[in-house]
Symmetry: C2
Subunit: 189 residues, 2 copies
């Protein structure tokens, strides 16, 4: 599952050529900062998080592997939408898993009880972290994403870990409609 | 000198309106990840660092304030250009100051002896950090930038700290020509 950061960059270049992606698509796919902040900058708006589902679950195989924990270890599973605060349109859907054993109490409270994007939680707690890209993908039609994002696709997806104290604190997979970030149709001021 | 991250975002929105900046300009100005990585993603290229000057100096007043050290404390001053590896064109000029007292030996070697962009040094050493924006600016004509960047301007500039172990490890001011990142003229694949 783990790929080198160079391999991810090469994969983004290949996806870019194959699907005529623009600079903004590549930036969203491959950058290593806060996704919330980048969305707000690109669209010149503020965004809001809507929690679809949040519960403690036995961690499934794939996220457990990404987190380097045992399958079945208790993890916080969070399904969220990032929406534009102005018009409410969905911009991004994400599912994340965070092992309970690695969450400090105040961070855990924000993650489990409040509608706060992860980038803002990290900023609020002045946490020092690094982001490790795991995968990037291009997806065609998908009924669930179509319903959640109110857009027929195609979609771009990225998976990454946020590392703190040398261990993955959370593993996140994000999906967004390619067309939302086509230069001609959005985000110029 | 220190501004809240919300104030920086508001300032970027004002600059965007005043100077008809696009989504890529705002992303470059305000993101909190590696600038090297974002440049490579946007331009779909690889970049290279060229050191213009690098020496240990008594830290001047303004960077000392940003770093929260005494003026005159020994700091590594580095003037660099980021250039496109394919055609050699200059993309970005940066000046940084790093207090010697805060540099771990291996990081110091990379910073002082090698042509490695700071984002790559941070990645290579798997460092956990956070970036704190200090200022963003729009600049018109400037003879020094024109000569360094081989472009008459205008330019965008951002200043930020990279924080490690709760202290600023390095303070960086970057400058790039606005026109390099105008959607119609660069970076589509």
């Amino acid at each position: 599952m783990k790929a080198s950061q160079e391999a991810i960059m090469a994969r983004i270049r290949r996806l870019s050529t194959a699907h005529a992606l623009g600079p903004i698509h590549r930036a969203l796919l491959g950058h290593d900062g806060s996704m919330t902040k980048l969305l707000e900058l690109i669209l010149c708006t503020t965004v809001q998080l809507k929690t679809i589902r949040q519960s403690v679950v036995p961690c499934p195989y794939r996220p457990a592997r990404a987190l380097r924990i045992q399958t079945g270890e208790p993890a916080n599973e969070r399904d969220i939408l990032i929406v534009d605060r102005c018009d409410g349109r969905p911009l991004l859907y994400a599912r994340s898993y965070a092992p309970l054993s690695r969450l400090r109490p105040s961070f855990k409270d924000d993650l489990m009880r409040a509608d706060i994007p992860i980038g803002r939680i990290v900023q609020k707690h002045r946490m020092e972290t690094r982001r490790e890209m795991l995968n990037v993908r291009y997806l065609g039609r998908n009924a669930r994403l179509c319903s959640l994002l109110e857009h027929p696709g195609p979609y771009l997806s990225r998976a990454y870990n946020i590392i703190s104290d040398e261990k993955p604190l959370i593993t996140i997979t994000e999906y967004f409609p390619t067309a939302l970030f086509t230069e001609n149709t959005s985000g110029s001021s």
